[in-house]
């Protein structure tokens, strides 16, 4: 057993740090740190810088233009990026669709779509969830009926993150109503500029509109845009959910949030001393730091298994639960550290209290991060997955 990074890994970490120092605009990092919404141009700009370095697709094999990183390298990159407050790589093309196309797409599909993800020609979003289905993903009803060389798609998707920026969407659609509900699902690539596609933003509690509803009204999609086989989409969706989750624990984000909280606690005053020296607050801070120390190693243990080719099982569910608990706990403590100042509405524009931007971002983050335990399979679903595996094992 050896808990140290190898010399190669340390060198890689230094290279990542140097890159972030050289390429990450401090004003952009500040926006990320305060959880402000980024413009499409800002996100695309960061992608372009990473792609110029060959680092945009760390998880892709080199044969597809990726960096071919080990899980440990990906972990290092993600942690360093989060701690530097770099924008998160928009996951829909790189982390989600890419691996599915690489595993299940046709040669033509790979040749056409993968380079366009890397060079930014396409902005992808994800059409999985539907209104009324919630965690029952397989209960989806958005229908694709075959009509010659096309599918005709009618239905609705929701919680489509950053869909307002996207020109393409990968969707789970129902191509058959026979058999078990999982069996009639297909994986379809849809051009959002097609006639019949409507996008409406959903405003969330923190005032952001990062998720959307998407309607399809008899949208014609070429059959060539079917990934893999008809009615096999559930298999691809499951592959995507279980294999592309190295960052599910969010160790880097949690570490950045802890750094920030410790800074705030040192600055806030309590009984004439820094709040960080208040025994109760310090103990609460210590508890979450200790949780994070353990989860960080749990994450590395899982990555180490993955690096040896062992498929992740319930580990990703366990990391999702603990990771969201830690991050949401940090959000609570950060709001608490600010006291009354965190009671302004976080969507203030220019009329907010002076110097309160950080306190407001604490409230905005609390509100926004409630999603962590809901999306991508709620923590309740994750518990059922774990318990199901335990009951069988």
């Amino acid at each position: 057993m050896d808990m140290r990074f190898t010399p190669d890994e340390l060198a890689f970490r230094d290279e990542v740090r140097a890159f972030l120092k050289a390429e990450l605009d401090p004003a952009l990092a500040r926006k990320v740190r305060l959880h402000h919404e980024l413009t499409k141009a800002e996100m695309e700009g960061w992608h372009a810088k990473l792609q110029a370095k060959g680092w945009l697709a760390g998880n892709w094999p080199t044969e597809f233009g990726g960096a071919g990183w080990t899980p440990i390298q990906r972990h290092i990159f993600e942690e360093e990026s989060a701690r530097a407050h770099a924008p998160r790589i928009v996951p829909f093309g790189i982390a989600m669709l890419g691996p599915v196309l690489q595993k299940f797409g046709s040669k033509d599909q790979q040749d056409h779509w993968l380079p366009r993800i890397l060079n930014g020609d396409d902005w992808w979003c994800q059409g999985y969830s539907e209104p009324g289905a919630g965690s029952d993903l397989a209960g989806l009803r958005c229908a694709a009926l075959r009509d010659g060389d096309h599918y005709v798609v009618t239905g609705q998707k929701t919680w489509t993150t950053l869909g307002q920026h996207a020109n393409m969407i990968f969707c789970l659609v129902r191509t058959s109503t026979e058999g078990k509900k999982q069996e009639g699902i297909s994986f379809l690539l849809i051009d959002m500029d097609s006639p019949g596609v409507t996008v409406r933003p959903i405003v969330l509690l923190d005032g952001t509109a990062e998720v959307n509803e998407v309607w399809f009204d008899e949208v014609r999609v070429p059959v060539a845009n079917l990934v893999g086989e008809e009615n096999q989409g559930w298999t691809y969706a499951k592959y995507l959910l279980t294999h592309e989750r190295t960052n599910i624990a969010g160790v880097g984000f949690a570490t950045a949030a802890l750094d920030n909280l410790q800074r705030v606690a040192r600055a806030q005053v309590h009984r004439g001393q820094p709040l960080s020296q208040d025994p109760l607050f310090a103990a609460q801070l210590a508890e979450v730091e200790i949780e994070l120390m353990a989860m960080s190693t749990t994450n590395l243990r899982m990555l180490s298994l993955a690096a040896q080719g062992q498929a992740p099982g319930i580990e990703s569910s366990m990391l999702k639960i603990k990771g969201t608990q830690i991050r949401q706990r940090l959000d609570v403590l950060t709001r608490r550290a600010y006291g009354g100042q965190a009671s302004a509405l976080p969507t203030l524009g220019n009329e907010g209290p002076d110097d309160a931007e950080e306190a407001l971002s604490a409230t905005a983050t609390w509100l926004n991060n409630r999603k962590l335990s809901i999306y991508g399979g709620s923590n309740e679903i994750q518990r059922s997955i774990i318990a199901g595996a335990l009951a069988k094992g």
Partner: protein, 332 residues
């Protein structure tokens, strides 16, 4: 021992519920005034006709449940404090209360300082500061009456989480009238804590009821969500905690006139209990709803924001817990 409302209070409750059903927006305030609502929060000495713990608890529970955003609490605290100091406000005058400060959870005197009878510094989250006739201001150990149009006073307004308008109050050598030591105004301040806690309790019950309705109506995997035992048991736990919060509010409302040491323990216990339950309900209500609970257009959102605001008003649970554990007074 009797936990029933008096006949007068039951009538007040009925009248309030009726008004909240019939009136919204601009029409609400005149209707409340006509029904004697602000006056019910004050004693006869203070220019009202009740001012009891039971009245305050029931009124703010109803307002909190309905999600009414009116600066009644600061007005009540200020009116009571002014009255105690023999400086009655004019009838119906809008009054504000400047308590929270930037740079601290809820310590006083961190961002504001006193020289003679002049105040310099900042207060934050001052509900109703715009248009107030007078503002009650706390400093490290004293209460002050401030005229908003006095020299050196700047008001920077903004919207707050609970839907009210708040403001930062920026003071530069602003003249003010000292009313006395904070420690001597535990009564008016305790009523403020009761009002905030009752408001939170109202929002708690509204959020729990809405969540329960959702779980009963929404179906997944072929069953209503409430049929899933893990969710059902969480609702049961919430129901238990709601009763704890209700009892904490009852305790404070029943001890407003008790010996100050005992009253203060109930002030602190109330903030700790209601604050804890408010946060639990805010978190669980969103989680049990799933994504819909995070959207602006669904009714839960406003409740969640009000719960967050109530959690910190006049000091959060941990701030009061520490003082309770040390045996310190609630206001000093």
């Amino acid at each position: 021992m009797d936990f029933q409302l008096s006949d007068d209070h039951r009538m007040l409750q009925d009248s309030l519920r009726g008004i909240l059903t019939r009136h919204t927006g601009e029409a609400l305030w005149p209707a409340l005034v006509e029904a004697g609502m602000p006056a019910a929060l004050l004693t006869e000495d203070e220019g009202g006709f009740d001012g009891s713990g039971a009245a305050i608890a029931l009124i703010f529970q109803e307002l909190g449940r309905a999600g009414v955003a009116l600066p009644l609490i600061p007005a009540m605290i200020a009116a009571a404090a002014f009255a105690q100091a023999g400086q009655h406000a004019e009838d119906g005058a809008a009054l504000a209360f400047a308590d929270a400060e930037p740079g601290t959870r809820h310590d006083r005197g961190v961002a504001i300082s006193v020289q003679g009878d002049r105040l310099t510094g900042r207060k934050t989250m001052v509900a109703g500061a715009e248009g107030a006739a007078a503002i009650l201001v706390t400093t490290a150990d004293a209460l002050w009456r401030l005229a908003p149009d006095a020299p050196g006073v700047t008001i920077r307004p903004y919207p707050m989480l609970d839907g009210q308008r708040g403001a930062d109050l920026i003071l530069e050598d602003a003249p003010a009238t000292r009313l006395g030591a904070i420690a001597d105004f535990g009564g008016p301040l305790a009523r403020g804590v009761l009002a905030h806690s009752a408001t939170a309790l109202g929002a708690i019950t509204a959020a729990v009821d809405l969540t329960l309705d959702y779980l009963k109506q929404r179906r997944q995997f072929g069953q209503p969500l409430i049929a899933f035992q893990a969710l059902a048991h969480r609702m049961a736990d919430l129901a238990v905690e709601v009763e704890q919060a209700r009892s904490a509010v009852t305790n404070l409302s029943g001890h407003l006139d008790a010996d100050p040491a005992l009253r203060d323990r109930h002030v602190q216990a109330c903030k700790v209990t209601v604050g804890r339950v408010a946060r639990l309900v805010a978190e669980d209500a969103v989680q049990l709803h799933g994504g819909i609970g995070m959207t602006e257009e669904y009714a839960l959102g406003g409740m969640i924001r009000r719960l967050l605001a109530a959690e910190t008003a006049m000091g959060d649970a941990d701030w009061h817990l520490e003082r309770f554990a040390r045996g310190e007074p609630a206001f000093a």
